[in-house]
Amino acid sequence: MIETQFTPDAAGAIPGPDWLARRRVAAAEQVAAATMPSVEEEVWRYTPIGQLDLSRYQLAHDGGGTSTASVPEHSAMAEASNGRLGGVELPAEVAAQGVEVRPLGEGDAELAASVDVDMFALMNAAFSVEPLLVRVPPGVSVEGPIVVRHWLDADGGAVFPRLIVDAGADSSVEVLELYGSADISAFISPVIEIRVAAAARVGYLAVQDLGPKVWHIGSQVSHIGAQAHLRSSSAALGGEYARTRLDTHLSGRGATGDLISLYFGDGEQTLDFRTFQDHAAPDTTSTLLFKGAVDDSSRSVYTGLIRVRPDARGTNAYQTNRNIKLSEDAWAESVPNLEIENNEVHCSHASAVGPINSDQLFYLESRGVPTETAERLIVAGFFDEVLDQFPVLEAVPAVRNRLQSKIEGLGHRGVDGETGS
């Protein structure tokens, strides 16, 4: 039983279409009956979830300022402040293609049928003020990314952004989400649903660059149809505790999902990723590449599961998680898992946690590159493989710069065999 201001009454008071109000109240009732997750549960292991005190946060109602994060050239853009949608910029020529970028309305009841993966996704269902829909009709290709830019500046605010990307059959679209905040204490729990219909192609990139006192507990659920392709990526750079759960369902025959992420922890950050590659249809392919670095006394957690269901013959599934530990006090956990119920599959997983490679360091140093510079080059190079695979190419230079600024701050690390003799 969770006693907070996040009550069914509070959920019911949020304006919106009737179907959504009913869903909010139902979800809030489930939240009220739920118990807080604890580290005793495998899926919350290694996390600071025990420190979360929801009563410290108030549901943010009012929009604040707007983000100044740079936005690349785009086809459309929605701006959200403290979870409240500000302007939506949808040029006439894009709207004329039938592309929709708007809050959920009366006619969207069929979009209620989503699965809430944990208590925080339920809270999102209950308290998301203005869920946003990005819909691309069948056969339409959108030129340039659709950008959703989030900004938080309500101190003590709780924000529940929800984004539904609905890509029609044989459509093509890229979506970029940018998360930023003022230097405040806040709680944000986003949910992203991505529906990739048959033969559609979707690219998604989330850039999480929240302030150091913000808690972020998010989830993303994707369904990929027959012969469709989702390329889903993220850069997790900010937050005090920042978690993303990523459930990718390869539901149609021949579906492909590429999951590509980087994360860089410093200070006291904890960055946490739980991935699930669910092969439910034959001839499906998923590749996962997550690379992270932890500096100072930051921590990272990666746990991933590949499941191949009995029908999913001809599955190809790969999972790679590599971590560089840049300081003695930093800590990274990496736990890959396979659960295979069909014999005709190719699956592999690889995981590693270690310091900067001492052979690489020696090579650069032997050319006269000082140790700290060499380390920065190697760490930046380590992430290149990820950046090279990101969708939404227009956004990659800004991510690279922001990552580089974190790398420049690289402190005194624990490298094996630091100098000769």
């Binding site: 020696f362 032997s366 100098t419 003799s421």
Partner: protein, 264 residues
């Protein structure tokens, strides 16, 4: 004139003594070859001089005497400080460094000694042409997806840009096709003439010395120099192999059990 001076060098790797008192002097403009069978300590010598972590100098010295006759004790310096003092080394199997480009690395190396990083791009292009290194490969990550010959051409480009005083070449010819070996050797010899580069070439086979002409040849056996001579020593090696040197050393430890012989 500068000179690399190695005196009575003892080096331990993983708790085991590998070098047991090596003495060498390589002056600028000279090409020295260190030849020895597998396990004689050749690569250890190269790594110890460059300061690779894990190669512990237990006694002896490594000194670089610079143009003004100042002695720099290298043993306590990190690899990059040794590079700044004027050392350069090539590895038998150069390490792949994903995501780090040749120019990128050289810019940082040049900037670290107060050089002009903006001049590096043009220098790299000029050096690449000298050793016939495909310009397209300049943009790849260091040593990633390069053939043996391409890697060594890349290292010759690095040497050309960094202009060290002394270069230590570990098995330069391994994995190289004839053309690459000729191009790289030619560039190094050119540096010995034009920049007064001193070279310590470490090699198992005398093949290298047909293209890179050594002034002095040292034979390294069991972690110490067994003999030093001119190029004729390499020619002799070609005929006899390392056996003559290995045998002389192998004879001494044989134990003679006097008391066990009934005729004495």
């Amino acid at each position: 004139m500068s000179e690399l001076v190695v005196e009575d060098l003892h080096v331990q790797v993983g708790g085991q003594m590998v070098l047991n008192g090596v003495d060498l002097r390589v002056a600028s403009g000279e090409v020295h070859a260190v030849m020895g069978p597998n396990g004689s300590g050749k690569s250890t010598l190269a790594y110890a001089i460059m300061g690779r972590p894990g190669y512990e100098v237990t006694s002896g010295s490594i000194t670089l005497i610079d143009d003004d006759s100042n002695s720099v004790d290298l043993v306590d310096l990190s690899p990059w400080e040794r590079a700044h003092a004027g050392l350069f080394s090539t590895q038998q199997y150069p390490t792949e460094v994903p995501g780090v480009g040749l120019e990128n690395m050289l810019e940082e190396a040049v900037a670290a000694i107060g050089g002009d990083r903006s001049a590096v791009e043009a220098q790299v292009a000029a050096e690449a042409e000298l050793v016939d290194f495909d310009p397209d490969l300049l943009y790849r990550s260091l040593n990633v997806d390069l053939s043996g010959g391409e890697m060594k051409r890349s290292e010759a480009v690095q040497l050309g840009v960094l202009r060290p005083r002394i270069a230590i070449l570990d098995e330069l010819d391994s994995g190289l096709d004839v053309d690459a070996l000729a191009a790289v050797s030619h560039r190094i010899e050119q540096a010995t003439h034009e920049d007064n580069l001193g070279v310590l070439a470490i090699t198992h086979f005398s093949r290298l010395l047909t293209v890179l002409h050594a002034d002095v040849v040292h034979i390294l056996i069991d972690g110490a120099i067994a003999e030093t001579g001119g190029p004729e020593l390499a020619a002799q090696l070609e005929d006899t192999g390392y056996d003559p040197w290995i045998d002389t050393r192998a004879e001494s430890p044989v134990e003679i059990h006097l008391g066990g012989d009934p005729w004495l």
